[in-house]
């Protein structure tokens, strides 16, 4: 690895790089996978999205694509009961967790030990903390005043997962409101709702498990 490559990888910015390495001669290229449209760049993008390093052959040349992604992040909007086990489980799975809720009585340190709390409205939060391609967003507040602005911010971001708590009926009404705000059907299809894998979850912890499982499935498959 060249020193310049190491310096770029470790300069502190939370961004994705892919190092393409040709082991036959030790040469390497540092690729920005979300702006490079070359065949190698597109392969790097797929590798970065799936967070999977591996070998690929392009134009008769073997490259090892080494993915360097920033940490995963989970933004929970709505500091409700389900958010408590979900925050704890997601931390175990390696996520940096943020909980956003303008209602100060909900987003308390006692309810969310070790989690970064943001007592903000979601639009204000996302204006200063934009979601990236390593961000999962789950809205749980069950209040359109809080949930809808968060979903709008999510839909205009590259977040890899957007989930929204609510029944089929609630979700249909939500999609209708967002369509009225100008979002196309294919954009709205990014929202996973009712949220979580269908594992028959009942308790808050079980629902949290189904959501984390769906996040993992979206990220890894």
């Amino acid at each position: 690895m060249k020193r310049a490559t190491l310096d770029a990888l470790t300069d502190g910015g939370a961004r994705t790089w892919v190092r393409a390495l040709d082991r036959s001669d030790g040469s390497e290229k540092l690729i920005d996978p979300f702006s490079d449209e070359s065949p190698l760049g597109l392969a790097a993008r797929a590798a970065a999205r799936s967070d999977t390093s591996g070998e690929i052959k392009i134009d008769e040349r073997n490259w090892f694509l080494e993915v360097h992604n920033p940490p995963l992040e989970l933004v929970l909007v709505g500091a409700v009961h389900i958010a408590q086990p979900l925050a704890a489980m997601a931390r175990l799975a390696g996520y940096a967790v943020r909980v956003v809720d303008p209602r100060a009585a909900f987003a308390t340190e006692a309810r969310f030990p070790g989690v970064t709390l943001h007592p903000d409205w979601p639009d204000a939060f996302f204006a200063k903390t934009p979601a990236g391609n390593r961000t999962a967003l789950v809205v749980l507040a069950h209040d359109p005043k809080i949930d809808d602005p968060a979903l709008e911010a999510g839909l205009t971001s590259p977040a890899f997962y957007i989930g929204a708590l609510g029944s089929k009926k609630t979700h249909a009404a939500r999609l209708e409101r967002l369509a009225g705000r100008g979002f196309a059907q294919e954009a709205l299809a990014r929202i996973r709702g009712p949220v979580g894998l269908a594992i028959g979850a009942r308790s808050p912890a079980e629902i949290a498990l189904s959501i984390l499982a769906q996040m993992t499935q979206t990220l890894r498959t």
Partner: protein, 117 residues
């Protein structure tokens, strides 16, 4: 095994190994890097997992569940000395792998390189 749990949690992080390698270089050390290129069977660390090795043998990170690290560190120290990259392969059919104990039944290919100009 706690080692494996810790390693799994690290895979979602920006590489602590590279951060540490950079710090070692700044402190005047020479550093080599081992990277898992490919795995077959039940290898515990996925491709892209890295180990940073310092010229005095100190290391951070892992390329297996702790089974072949000592051999990789040895190769890394040779790379630091001669500047040559190395391709290593470990598996149950490899007598050397038995020596260093890759008992999980998997096979792994590891690339060892210096961090240089």
């Amino acid at each position: 095994m706690l080692v494996l749990l810790t390693a799994a949690a690290d895979t979602s992080r920006v590489s602590e190994e590279l951060q540490t390698a950079a710090a070692w270089l700044v402190a005047g050390h020479k550093v080599a890097l081992g990277t898992v290129i490919q795995t077959w069977g039940s290898a515990p660390r996925p491709a892209g997992s890295q180990i940073a090795v310092r010229d005095d043998g100190a290391f951070l990170g892992s390329v297996s569940g702790g089974c072949v690290e000592s051999a990789v560190i040895e190769a890394a120290l040779q790379t630091i000395a001669d500047g040559e990259s190395r391709n290593l392969e470990f598996g149950v059919t490899d007598a050397r792998a038995w020596d260093v104990g890759l008992a999980c039944g998997g096979r792994i290919r590891i690339f060892v390189e210096a961090i240089g100009e």
